[in-house]
Amino acid sequence: MIGFIWEEVLIRPMLNLLVILTNIAFGNFGLGLILFTIITRVVTFPLTLRQLRATRAMTSLKPRIDEINKKYKDPRRRSEETMKVYREAGINPLGCLGPMLIQIPIFIALYAVVRVALGNTPESFIDLEERLYNWSYIENAIPLDDHFLGIDLGASGGIPLAILVGVATWLQTKTTYSLRSAPTDPMMQQQQQMMQWMMPLIFGYITITFPAGLGLYWLATTIIGIVLNYVAYGGIKKVGIPFILQPEEEAATNGASPAVAAAAEVQPEVEQALDNQAVSRSKLKKLRRMENARRRSKR
């Protein structure tokens, strides 16, 4: 059943879509792959948007989280309080992982698709034919032009492409992390630093080891990710590239939900109540309503 779903829901549609896009892109598989990347990014954009919002919201809640970290030594309590703040702000911290997780099946399926589509053995052509839809527009497109800018997309990617993939991945990781203030926890700092170097190395290695088509996809999707970072919240500014769009200070109230903005500025009495849990739930709600009303009247 899983195999059937994998084949019929993911592999075949993706393969046939890629062949159609290759046809549209003047018969060049590399250009077809870039079109595919753009389409994938458009389709998964709602998830990406959620990630961007969640990341920005978490950034705005950073001072509050730092305070919780300072205040509570018990990790369980600390985690509970942190989750409470996120819940009240209406954000799901796991929302950050959505676009990344959706990339995993796409990436694996694309690996299988590239191997089938650009296989150079006659047996691979038989496999390919069995997966193509019964439409002459698709079937007549075989064999696909597997070269793009001098790179054989069906063969293992070379060093230059791996370097490009590595640099792009590093840049995307850097821009993503630079949105937030540096974590106060030394262990987290260490993990973050390790990620900045590990991700480029892993994807550089994948590019060298696996068909170059995968490397091209990752390069294209990463570049789009960097652009999205730039457009969404000026991540590039923090790594020294001039940026003229939305300053980060505005981000907390501009793009994030009102609840996030409010939660970022929780007043001391509410905070105190939260920390001590000395008041009833209804009292807490009342305090919040009062605080929100006060804030609105200020504006």
Partner: protein, 366 residues
Amino acid sequence: MFHVKRLSIPALFAIAVVAASCGGVGGPDGWGGPVAADELIVVPDNDGNLAARDQQGDLQWLFPNEAANDAAGETLDLEAIYGNPSIAEQRIYIGGFDHYLYALDMAEDNSEPDLAWRFNTHGDIVGGAAVNSDGSLIVIGSSDHGVYGMDADGQQLWRFATGERVWSTPAFADDLVYVGSMDHYIYALDFEGNEVWSFETDAAIAASPVVVDGTVYIGSYDRAIYALEADTGDLLWQFETENWVWAEAVVQEDTVYVASLDGSLYALLTENGDLLWEFETGDGIRARPALAGDVLVVANQRGDIIGIDAESGDELWRMDEATPADVLSDLSLINEAVYVRDEDGDLLEVDPEEGSASDFGGDREG
């Protein structure tokens, strides 16, 4: 907590991709079919070797051998052999996936052949070699997009460039040689490698042409079989099937038999392409059928071997999944028996009259 999750993502990627690489498309196996060479039957196995068997199926020799390795100055590895071996003037020609065309001199006592020469085409060879009537010109296509003409000493005489891979086995007729290319064209070349005419189909051509009585028959990935005037390339007729036509056509008298990856075998009138009958086998057919008298023996991919009355299209007998592995190799009629090679390299000897089969060696005995 979330950082830990993020750490696991690249690791998940790597594990998943490595796991995915364990299945799917494998390396080249080869699907060269069996051919008679004097008293032997030579057939490529799925390790890139050419095996010679006697009439009882006993292995006589394997190529490459030590002598060939010594002559070449290296350990030869053909990777896979897809084209059927060609026999002419006591020589066996085989194209290797390692880019080389090999010429082997057969020994009179059926002992191991000598490597006469090998020629590097700089591209995977998938088709077989064609040799003209006096053995002075050998022509073969290559995945480097070229068609090569060589003399009997293995010296390149010419190279004709096409726009894509050439997987088709060329065919000689009179003073022209015909070959299909993945660039959608079939070309007619003279013996100096000059183009005399070309004909464009709507898709790649991997099938080999057959030339009979001044007509060239060739299938294409555009699902059609074409009949062309051999001298001019003018289209006489075309017949549409439901899938790629990769198998070489079989022609006898006024009928051309066409196998398609749509799983059907079509009998057409050579004169105008009119359909005489159609036989649905149940799975795609890549292998060229074999005609044994009035019985047309066909094998589809999943290994169903079927005897069909060539005139009426009626099923005479059927052996479902007779081979352990898929059948993609051309069927051969040798000494009134039909030989079927599967993708494991096993060889079946089929009695076309009785519809029975017996194991004829192959890798299991080799």
